[in-house]
């Protein structure tokens, strides 16, 4: 077909005008970091908390910041998940956040690698912040990726074992289990069957049993997700096969996957009063320190005990360790108020009193070394267990990856197939899963 110059010119004009329109919609953030930090301004802070007590705690924290920084007003937007956050960070614009918080530490690799969150190094250097004296190594690790620090820890979470002391007493159990072998026996003793279901289940081991995800189990076995070349270590590190085999034995020992999964569908919402641990449907629960506040609000009618999670039988010396995670906070790269936004980040993550007040209000573990020692921190016997887990030298978290939590999702998919009995050859399955993780990472690079 011959090309008509006039038609081509029209097409070019349309394309050019569309491109112009598109480029006009995006702004430059070049002036964001040089904005006057003392000018009166309003910044926007997006976070994911939604429970009324948590929302109040964050509002109180922001109010303290505004009092200390009268020139900065903070517009707080809650109940934001990572999907909404990612879109807003990419779109930029005046309605997006200047400061963003996320619960998903495994997405930090994606945020840092892509530049979705700005590099905080210039701000940290300008303010001469010594991170080693401020945060523990684990917390420093999960807030950066491959040397690019795009976030800081905003409180942290430690995972442990909750148990129903009344149920323990009724079953003649005197102390929480310390190894997974002991745990299996305790879970069986606590289980009371009723027809083809349960009157009380010792423990819900399924990977969809709220916090019983593979990464939380894995913290109780010494493991490394990636080798020194960045390749998946699932098939090479025996810890993964050990954890999967153990969890499967737990599933089979407590009635099998189908029966347990049907029972799981009777559970109430994880964030509501009808959580199965609150209602007595399960006698033990793997969970984070925040559950303490939920238990208090639900006014449970039994005595609650808290302990570190059991460890692998050959790692008894490391009993007391656990999975660590937390909320991360970062700076939107397209923000035009980066200096003011940095002040909020610095205040919320490093001001000892602010961190302690916020930790007390929200019931999370404080993230700075100073705040952990603060006399103002409200500590009871239960919360102390989580503080100890947070400071245990062998406590760990999941590694960051360029494609965020995708490698965890792939591992979890495989683990779910294994618990259902759909995988006949574990070694081969782990090799294939590792190869898939490597392919996904190669695609993301």
């Amino acid at each position: 077909m011959p090309v008509h110059p006039r038609r081509a010119a029209v097409a070019l004009a349309v394309t050019a005008s569309t491109a112009l329109l598109a480029s006009a919609c995006t702004g430059s953030a070049a002036d964001g970091a040089s904005a006057d930090p003392d000018a009166k301004t309003t910044i926007t802070f997006w976070h994911g908390w939604s429970a009324p007590a948590e929302v109040k705690a964050i509002q109180d924290n922001v109010a303290r910041f505004e009092k200390a920084h009268p020139n900065i007003k903070v517009k707080v937007v809650g109940n934001i998940n990572d999907a909404k956050l990612s879109q807003a960070l990419r779109a930029g614009g005046s309605n997006g956040p200047d400061v963003a918080a996320s619960f998903t530490t495994s997405n930090v690799g994606k945020f840092c690698h892509s530049g979705a969150l700005a590099d905080l190094k210039p701000f940290l250097e300008k303010d001469k912040v010594d991170l080693d004296k401020t945060f523990s190594k684990v917390l420093q690790d999960y807030t950066q990726f491959e040397g690019r620090r795009c976030s800081l820890p905003l409180l942290s979470d430690a995972y442990g074992l909750y148990y129903n002391k009344d149920a323990f007493k009724a079953a003649g159990i005197t102390a929480p289990p310390k190894t997974w072998s002991e745990f299996r026996e305790v879970a069986k003793k606590l289980t009371k069957e009723k027809g083809d279901s349960y009157e009380q289940l010792g423990f819900m081991p399924n990977y969809l049993g709220y916090e019983t995800v593979p990464s939380h189990y894995m913290s109780q076995w010494d493991h490394t997700y990636f080798d020194e070349n960045g390749k998946s270590n699932l098939a090479e590190d025996p810890a993964f096969a050990e954890m999967l085999t153990y969890q499967k034995s737990l599933v089979d020992g407590l009635g099998g996957f189908a029966k347990l999964d049907k029972y799981r569908t009777t559970f109430g919402d994880e964030w509501g009063a009808k959580h199965p641990f609150h209602t007595g449907q399960v006698a033990m629960q793997l969970d984070g320190e925040w559950r303490l506040n939920f238990i208090k609000d639900a006014k449970v009618d039994f005595e609650v005990g808290v302990a570190p999670l059991p460890v692998a039988d050959d790692e008894v010396a490391e009993y007391g360790k656990g999975y660590l995670s937390g909320t991360i906070i970062g700076l939107a790269p397209q923000s035009r108020k980066q200096n003011a936004a940095w002040k909020l980040i610095k205040y919320m993550t490093m001001d000892t009193d602010a961190v302690v007040e916020f930790a007390n209000g929200i019931g999370n573990v404080p993230s700075t070394l100073e705040a952990l020692k603060s006399p103002k921190l409200k500590v009871d016997e239960h919360f102390k267990v989580f503080l100890d887990i947070a400071q245990h030298p062998e406590s760990s978290t999941s590694d960051g990856a360029v494609n965020g939590s995708t490698y965890q999702d792939t591992f979890q998919d495989f683990a779910q197939k294994y618990e259902k009995g759909q995988v006949k050859d574990l070694k081969k399955g782990l090799e294939e899963t590792a190869a898939q993780i490597d392919r996904d990472i190669a695609q993301a690079k």
Binding site: T15, G48, A83, Q87, S114, Y263, R264, F267, G288, R439
Partner: protein, 320 residues
């Protein structure tokens, strides 16, 4: 005729042609602008980005066929998503059309309380998709749902519906059929429009009810059936809200801590291509692979529509 006047007439003719062209373009401009901005430009961009590495934040870089190879051979969720989308396009759309037509036929036959029944059958269509899906997941909950309690009470083995790979898509189909009010109204209008004389003539010829439906009703409403099938398939290609809400609620993974929700629960059985596009593009920041899947969806929609248009006669009889 002098050459001057001939040139003058030719110039006037050219000028008239230009004016006509401009006038036509002016009348067409709203459509042209809409087509360019909302169809042509996004389509061209999608093709372009399918060959690039692009995360929406950094400048795109050339990647050749890597995204295509990744999606077709290295992305394990692609083929289940494709199978599920095709299953829904065939089974769910067929069920909706059959039930829509069946309900329309019933409603046109009812003499007493027709208005009430029309309203009752149409109402579910007005329910917001998220609310309707939530209600269905609770009703069909294998542990606490009333449907399974009823089935168990009468001794019928109760499936796990949204928690079972074999039953999750049929459960979504039940939900879609429940909201068939839109098709019912369209079919009802078409059925009432069939000339009565044709039925009378067929009755005089001694035809059965089935023969009257097959040789009188169906040919008359064939354009409406085609419309219902084509729009149903396009809807199936965009099917996102119901499966993702059902999977989220049935899995119990609401997020908010260490858990991350993956669409498709259970075992990718409710994963559709639009969910995969969203997951790749907005979850993994992989616009390139997301664009490949979006183009596959586009090609599928075009193929289905072309096939239906060509096979229209064979599908519903020679109604033309």
């Amino acid at each position: 005729m002098s050459s001057d006047s001939l040139e003058g007439r030719q110039a006037a003719l050219r000028s008239k042609r230009v004016r006509n062209t401009l006038r036509t373009a002016a009348f067409m401009s709203p459509w042209l602008i809409g087509f360019s901005v909302f169809f042509a430009y996004p389509l061209v961009s999608t093709v372009y980005f399918s060959f690039m590495k692009y995360d929406g934040l950094n400048p795109p870089t050339w990647r050749g066929l890597d995204n295509w190879t990744y999606v077709f051979s290295d992305l394990p969720k692609f083929w289940p998503a494709m199978q599920n989308t095709l299953w829904l396009a065939v089974v769910m759309v067929a069920c909706r059309v059959v039930f829509g037509l069946g309900t329309g036929l019933l409603i046109t036959k009812i003499k007493l309380g027709a208005g009430l029944f029309r309203t009752l059958f149409y109402l579910p269509y007005l329910a917001p998709p998220v609310a309707a899906t939530l209600a269905f997941v609770f009703l069909l909950n294998p542990g606490t749902g009333p449907v399974n309690s009823l089935l168990e009470a009468v001794g019928i083995p109760a499936p796990s519906w949204f928690n079972d790979t074999a039953w999750a898509k049929p459960a979504l189909t039940v939900l879609a059929v429940w909201g068939v009010g839109d098709l019912m109204v369209i079919f009802m209008a078409a059925l009432l429009d069939v000339p009565k004389e044709q039925y009378e003539a067929a009755e005089l010829d001694g035809t059965s009810a089935w023969q009257r439906f097959r040789y009188v009703t169906l040919p008359n409403i064939s354009p409406i059936v085609l419309f219902a099938v084509v729009t149903g398939i396009i809807g199936a290609m965009q099917y996102y809200t119901q499966p993702i809400v059902a999977a989220k609620v049935a899995s119990g993974v609401m997020g908010g801590s260490g858990q991350t929700f993956e669409p498709g629960y259970p075992d990718d059985s409710t994963l559709t291509l639009p969910q995969l596009v969203y997951d790749l593009g907005f979850g993994r920041f992989d616009y390139g692979a997301a664009c490949v899947v979006a183009l596959v969806l586009f090609a599928l929609s075009m193929a289905f529509t072309a096939l239906l248009m060509r096979r229209r006669g064979g599908l519903i009889g020679s109604g033309d």
